[in-house]
């Protein structure tokens, strides 16, 4: 419920997008956040003594991933942190956010983020945790890019998202591995199977992946660079996400999983190395920042490194210290960010070089900031001091026998010194010194009281915790520690004074050195551009360069290298892979075909195919320059194929092939007119590449040819004992009522195929029609063909001739013959149709014949003449055909049979006798109608282009003539 609430609030706020007020969304947000705090607080009694509160909704029970919430001490403490700081940030933002912006959006995102964060904290299931994990990445993206007009905000947001989402993906995989090692994704199970996990061969992989997730989120070196860039976000966002909560998710996760993962050498080295280097580098970089928020960001990085280092040590006390420091850091850093925001808000700049002596204008804010900075620097009596002391104490102790362990105390002191230096710099350069010159806002003044209230609150918290740790944070910290460490929770003391010991000495050294550094390098700090020594280690630049190179340059060149946009290579691939697909299985298995036995060789058949092959080669040879010749020869090949079908017992195929051949030839001829003139036999010089291409294609073609020949021989000489054909042969007459088995298969046994096939024809006709409606020929095809121009000119030049005489005379006699053939061909079509069920023929051949009858009339008289006399409405034919065929099938339902069940009987007609009648005939009629419609539509649509072009030409000429 606590988790859901912010999301509900978020949605609610999102619906307020149109309001101009910032009060309403802010109040909703504040109310929600406060409720969250109260509800969480109410859970305290149940978790105080190591208790756990659970709540579960089923989501993916098969994989053991459910909406499984689990609150223990640690989660509770963290949730309180999220909630309280959330309330404060909302309050602060209510004043901070300008009214011009889409404020409801801001609060909506903020609440969504809060929910996601709480989700991470409360997840009792690691997968659920990673879900919320990525949600925080997404919401933070939206929050950082809140001022999306600003390129820096966009880039910063994108970088943050890219880095943290990458980490999130890694984390997911790591958690999946972890879950699989443990046998469950349940957090409790995972935490209790530490031995199995650390002993597993995938432990290291899993650890690295999880650490990647945690480190990216918590801005650990070398993934720290996104955080400073995320400072383009509005300050409340920085205060909330980038100091108090989201960046803590990484260390939270480390702490959460440390019982299961820690304690190994790998853990110590990986986590420790990252932690120490982050600690050191973060503080080092922070000293040289000129931007207030930049300084705070690097400081945050450094403190996160501190927490990570603590967690790397793996000792119980270190873990307690880590948890403690998470809380402490959140309090002082959030207040510092808010103070920086106020400074920015009031003065208009965050550049420390321009700021100076602000204590005069912002006395209260300044003092609050000083206290918070002191806490950051680890000054005694403040909460920062306590956790830092614990850190020093732990650093000194020996945990692992390695150089890193030895170096840690020294590095810790150095980093601490740096942090003193930058804290000093923050305070001194901003609040002290001469009054500022040339600020964008000339008169900075204290903000409204309620805007400052969050800072007041947090700084007081720093003080109270720093002075009375045992009464304030003590019990909560204990509950958290117990829930993480369980039985091994150590005895620790939170008192301010432990006596004079090594950690105190280290603190003193760091304090003094820090002051010395600041005093020594003060002027250098304010002059420097970027960070010395590590200037070129600008993570951001490297990241961007890598990203651009990887995701843009390499990707583009790889895309063009691995892919293509041309057709030829693609077809080459397809043929090549098709060849391999057939070749490899046979080759690898050592397929042996039987001996080639010269089966009964028919001389005429051999002769026919000798011709056929020659024609095929001729076609291939002539297709480039002699299109018409190639078409003629292609027609020859088609004819040979047709003879072959007939020769080899397939009269139906022969008939169909023949008709299709004729129609196809006419079709291609109709198209030929629109292709460019090709000047024959221009032997273009062949480059080596072109030669190579040709050679390669030749080899491929030959290989495919040989392969097909081989396979077809192998399969032809192979007898299959029980094919389904036997059933058809035995039942075509008794069950299907036809003697032509092929036709019975087509209209009855497999009529469904035919239904689909005629649909294809219909679709193609529609497509052709649709495409040709927008057809525009190339400019060089626009003119009438040369022959027509010559003939028209001749008619024009001869005094005794009228325009069009030549063509009229030319067609006079042939067209008479073609007209008289019209009824004859129709009769033939009817004949072919009627006999189909018993003998070669059928709806398809009949339909083609019928359309050839129409075609002949178009040929004889031209489009206008033909359409003046016979108006074919192809769409009607097609639709009727499809509906007839489909309707015949549906008709079977009326008799309780499945779709397309045929029925046939002999009708006893007077005078005539018994006549076979089958519903399959009606189906075939549908086929006939559709074929006529489609074929005519295709032919006519193409033929119409000539007329259209005349019209276009006329229009163009009119246009030219007009001006």
């Amino acid at each position: 419920m606590v988790v859901i609430l912010p999301f509900v609030g978020s949605l609610l706020t999102a619906f307020l997008l149109r309001t101009n007020s910032r009060l309403l969304p802010a109040s909703i947000a504040g109310f929600v956040a406060a409720t969250v705090v109260l509800m969480t607080a109410a859970l305290y009694p149940s978790v105080a003594n190591g208790g756990v509160v659970r709540f579960e909704i089923e989501w993916l029970p098969q994989l053991g991933v459910n909406l499984n919430l689990r609150v223990d001490g640690f989660a509770w403490l963290f949730a309180m942190l999220v909630g309280i700081i959330g309330v404060l940030v909302v309050l602060y933002a209510r004043y901070y956010m300008s009214e011009e912006g889409p404020v409801p959006r801001f609060f909506s995102f903020l609440l969504a983020f809060m929910g996601s964060m709480l989700g991470i904290v409360f997840s009792g299931n690691v997968i659920l945790l990673s879900v919320f994990w990525e949600l925080t990445s997404l919401t933070s993206f939206l929050l950082i890019s809140y001022w999306n007009q600003n390129p820096a905000a966009r880039d910063g947001a994108r970088m943050a998202l890219t880095v943290t989402a990458t980490g999130g993906f890694c984390l997911l995989v790591g958690l999946v591995i972890l879950g699989n090692i443990a046998g469950s994704y349940d957090l409790d199970v995972i935490l209790s199977s530490a031995e199995a996990i650390t002993a597993h061969p995938l432990y290291l992989t899993c650890l690295i992946l999880i650490l990647l997730g945690a480190f990216t989120k918590s801005a650990q070196f070398p993934f720290h660079f996104w955080l400073p860039n995320a400072m383009a976000a509005p300050t409340p966002v920085s205060a909330y996400l980038h100091s108090a909560t989201m960046v803590k998710a990484g260390v939270f996760l480390l702490a959460r999983l440390s019982p299961a993962l820690s304690g190994t050498y790998e853990w110590f080295m990986l986590v420790g190395l990252a932690g120490v280097s982050t600690l050191l580098l973060g503080s080092y970089f922070a000293m040289f920042q000129q931007d207030l928020k930049g300084l705070l960001a690097f400081s945050t990085i450094s403190h996160l490194g501190l927490i990570t280092t603590l967690l790397s040590l793996g000792s119980p006390v270190a873990t307690v210290a880590a948890i403690f420091h998470m809380v402490n850091h959140a309090t002082f850093k959030a207040s510092l960010f808010m103070a920086a925001g106020i400074i920015d808000h009031e003065t208009g700049t965050r550049d420390m070089r321009r700021l100076s002596g602000l204590l005069r204008y912002l006395p209260i804010t300044g003092r609050l900031a000083m206290v918070a900075s002191a806490a950051m620097a680890g000054v005694p009596l403040l909460n920062g001091f306590l956790s830092k002391e614990m850190f020093f104490a732990e650093a000194v102790e020996t945990h692992a026998n390695s150089w890193l362990d030895t170096a840690t105390p020294y590095l810790a002191v150095i980093a601490s010194a740096f942090s003193v230096a930058y804290s000093l710099r923050f305070i001194h350069s901003v609040f002290f010194g001469p009054p500022p010159m040339g600020l964008p806002n000339q008169a900075p003044q204290e903000p409204p009281h309620w805007m400052r209230f969050p800072i007041d609150f947090l700084v007081i918290a720093c003080l109270v915790v720093g002075i009375f740790p045992n009464f304030t944070i003590g019990p909560f910290l204990h509950a958290a520690a117990v829930s993480v460490l369980g039985q091994s929770t150590p005895q620790y003391s939170l008192s301010v004074w432990h006596g004079f010991n090594v950690p105190l000495l280290m603190s003193l050294v760091a304090m003094t050195t820090g002051c010395a550094i600041y005093v020594g390098f003060r002027s250098y700090f304010s002059r420097c551009e970027g960070t010395p020594v590590f200037r070129h280690l600008a993570g951001q630049r490297i990241f961007e360069r890598v990203l651009v190179t990887l995701s843009w340059r390499w990707a583009r060149s790889l895309e063009s290298r691995l892919g293509t946009r041309s057709l030829q290579p693609q077809l080459r691939w397809i043929t090549f892979l098709g060849f391999l697909a057939a070749f490899l299985p046979l080759y690898l298995a050592g397929f042996q075909s039987r001996m080639l036995s010269p089966s009964d060789l028919d001389a005429a058949f051999l002769g026919i195919w000798t011709i056929g092959c020659c024609l095929a080669i001729g076609t291939a040879y002539l297709a480039k320059y002699h299109r018409l010749a190639a078409l003629v020869m292609l027609g020859g090949v088609g004819l040979i194929v047709c003879i072959t079908f007939l020769w080899l017992s397939a009269p139906d195929l022969a008939l169909t092939q023949l008709l299709v051949e004729i129609v196809t030839t006419v079709l291609i001829l109709l198209g030929l007119r629109w292709l460019p003139k090709r000047v024959g036999d221009l032997k273009d010089e062949m480059t080596f590449r072109a030669r190579f291409r040709r050679f390669r294609d030749f080899v491929l073609a030959a290989a495919c040819g040989v392969g097909m020949a081989f396979i077809s021989y192998a399969v032809m000489t192979m007898t299959v004992p029980d094919t389904i054909a036997n059933f058809f042969l035995n039942n075509a007459y008794t069950q299907g009522g036809g003697r032509n088995v092929v036709n019975v298969i087509l209209v009855d046994f497999r009529g469904f195929d035919t239904l689909g096939e005629i649909t294809v024809l219909g679709i193609v006709a529609l497509t052709v029609y649709a495409l040709l409606r927008r057809f525009r020929p190339a400019p060089d095809s626009l003119a009438a063909p040369e022959q027509q121009q010559v003939q028209a000119l001749f008619d024009e030049q001869q005094p005794d001739r009228d325009a069009g005489d030549t063509v009229r005379d030319y067609l006079l006699v042939p067209s008479v013959i073609m007209q008289w053939l019209f009824p004859v061909v129709i009769t033939l079509a009817v004949y072919i149709f009627i006999r189909g069920h018993d003998l070669p023929g059928g709806g398809f051949s009949a339909g083609l014949t019928m359309s050839i009858a129409f075609l002949l009339q178009y040929l004889a008289g031209g489009t206008r003449w033909a359409e003046d006399r016979i108006r074919v409405l192809p769409l009607r034919w097609m639709a009727s055909g499809l509906i007839t065929a489909g309707g015949t099938g549906i008709g079977a339902w009326l008799f309780g049979y499945p779709f397309l069940t045929s029925h046939s009987r002999y009708l006893d007609l007077p005078l005539i006798g018994k006549v076979p009648a089958a519903t399959a005939m009606i189906f075939d009629l549908g086929v006939f109608l559709l074929v006529v419609g489609s074929t005519v539509l295709i032919l006519v649509a193409l033929a119409h282009q000539s007329i259209r072009i005349n019209r276009i030409r006329a229009m163009d000429e009119a246009k030219e003539g007009a001006p």
């Binding site: 089966s599 291939a620 080899l648």
Partner: protein, 112 residues
């Protein structure tokens, strides 16, 4: 028969593939036609080839010797679909030629 037919299929496949890989749209459409001849014959052949045994039933005759009607039915479907797609490809290549002014398969206008 089988030998001649498979050689023929091989020949037509080779010519068809060769044309299919050429750069001119017209060559491609002719190549596709040749290939579909080859494939149709191939489908036709997989049932085994028999001369003079068309699958037409006659009273009292044995059906055992008749040619396999299934591949024939499949080829019929394939012929129809092949016809349709050839028509379509033709129109598309015309449209492409009209819009790009070139009959290159990629619409390029350079001669090679």
């Amino acid at each position: 028969m089988e030998l001649v037919l498979s050689a023929a299929i091989g020949f037509m496949t080779a010519c068809g593939v060769w044309l299919l890989l050429r750069p001119r749209t017209y060559q491609v459409i002719v190549g596709l036609s040749l290939l579909s001849y080859a494939v149709n014959l191939f489908i036709f052949g997989v049932g085994g080839v028999k001369s003079d045994e068309p699958p037409l039933l006659t009273e009292g005759a044995s059906v055992a010797l008749l040619a396999d009607p299934v591949p024939q039915a499949l080829v019929l479907t394939a012929i129809v679909i092949g016809f349709a797609t050839t028509a379509l490809f033709l129109v598309v290549l015309l449209a492409s030629r009209g819009l790009t002014g070139s009959d290159h398969v990629d619409g390029r206008s350079d001669p090679r």
